[in-house]
């Protein structure tokens, strides 16, 4: 029975067999970090504070995130190890609902704390622990060496949480909360890019496209 359950989970693990999912999330985190840094440090009359630049930047980022992984899957993954179309309820509905609930709860907590003038630097930094837990649940359970990535993100988040507020705030126009978010996203983005890059390299090394008649 356990073997059947494990087989039922194999397609989920196949989704990130090439590390492309991690590369995409890593890219998204770093792109958001860059945007946050630009908005925090650019002069007040800079284009980075205007809505048009924000829309163009995010739109471009979404285009890359939508078409980049699709192109890699189409030209590299599917010809090598096969094509899989996932059930919509697994790939769209559940993650969307979960993402909405988690982000709404976090935003509400953050707004509540800021209105009451609580020091939110440490809670903001600990979002990294939440990201590490999500990564452990989604990816590290199936690939053992990815627990090293979980450890790096978790430890890094704790280090960010204990850094002096003025050091963290120096990154983002003296806002320690924004600085903590920025550092956490950079940490998570770099960890995922490195981990995804290693997975992609291992995938290319251990697989090869079969002859056309073999498909």
């Amino acid at each position: 029975m356990e073997q059947i359950e494990s087989l039922l989970n194999r397609p989920k693990a196949y989704c990130n067999i090439d590390g492309v999912g991690e590369l995409a999330i890593g890219f998204m985190c770093l792109a958001y970090s860059l945007l946050m840094w630009l908005q925090a440090n650019a002069p007040k009359d800079s284009i980075w504070h205007g809505m048009p630049a924000f829309i163009v930047y995010v739109g471009l980022m979404c285009l890359i995130l939508h078409y980049g992984p699709k192109a890699i899957k189409k030209h590299i993954t599917y010809p090598r190890t096969g094509f899989v179309e996932y059930r919509k309820c697994h790939t769209v509905c559940r993650p969307m609902i979960l993402g909405f609930v988690v982000s709404a709860a976090l935003s509400a907590g953050l707004m509540f704390g800021l209105r009451r003038h609580w020091n939110m630097t440490t809670p903001a930094s600990l979002i990294g622990l939440l990201l590490a837990a999500g990564y452990a649940y989604r990816i590290a359970r199936t690939v053992r060496w990815k627990w090293a990535v979980v450890s790096v993100v978790a430890l890094g988040s704790i280090v960010i949480a204990v850094l002096p507020a003025d050091v963290v705030g120096a990154l983002a126009d003296h806002s320690s909360v924004r600085g903590a978010f920025l550092l956490t996203f950079v940490l998570y983005g770099v960890a995922l890019l490195v981990s995804g890059g290693i997975s992609f390299w291992l995938y290319l090394r251990h697989t090869e496209a079969p002859a056309p008649e073999a498909q």
């Binding site: 029975m1 059947i4 096969g82 094509f83 899989v84 179309e85 059930r87 056309p212 498909q215």
Partner: protein, 98 residues
């Protein structure tokens, strides 16, 4: 007859064969996949895989669609509603038997 033994006797024999059970479980978790993916995941050779898929198709559990990816022929496979129902029932019966 002991109800537990009856449950074992009721197990769907088309699905109960290990190779076909693997294919049903893999296809149950996705919307559809191609022949190459099933070959990669199960480690079966083309002949064995084709024969199991034909058996599942005959039973009405799997739908086969022949198409092209660019100029390369591609065989897409998905579980039919009857296949999904049969697999769910098989799991329920197996759980009951164990």
């Amino acid at each position: 007859m002991n109800p537990q033994i009856r449950t074992i006797a009721d197990l769907d024999r088309v699905i109960h064969e290990p190779g076909r059970l693997m294919l049903m479980a893999l296809l149950f978790a996705v919307e559809r996949s191609d022949f190459l993916y099933l070959q990669h995941e199960t480690g079966m050779n083309k002949g064995t895989l084709s024969s199991h898929l034909s058996r599942l198709e005959e039973a009405g559990y799997v739908e086969v669609e022949k198409t092209y990816r660019g100029k390369v022929p591609q065989t897409l496979l998905r579980l039919t509603p009857a296949g999904r129902k049969a697999f769910e029932e098989y799991r329920r019966n197996l759980r009951g038997a164990l």
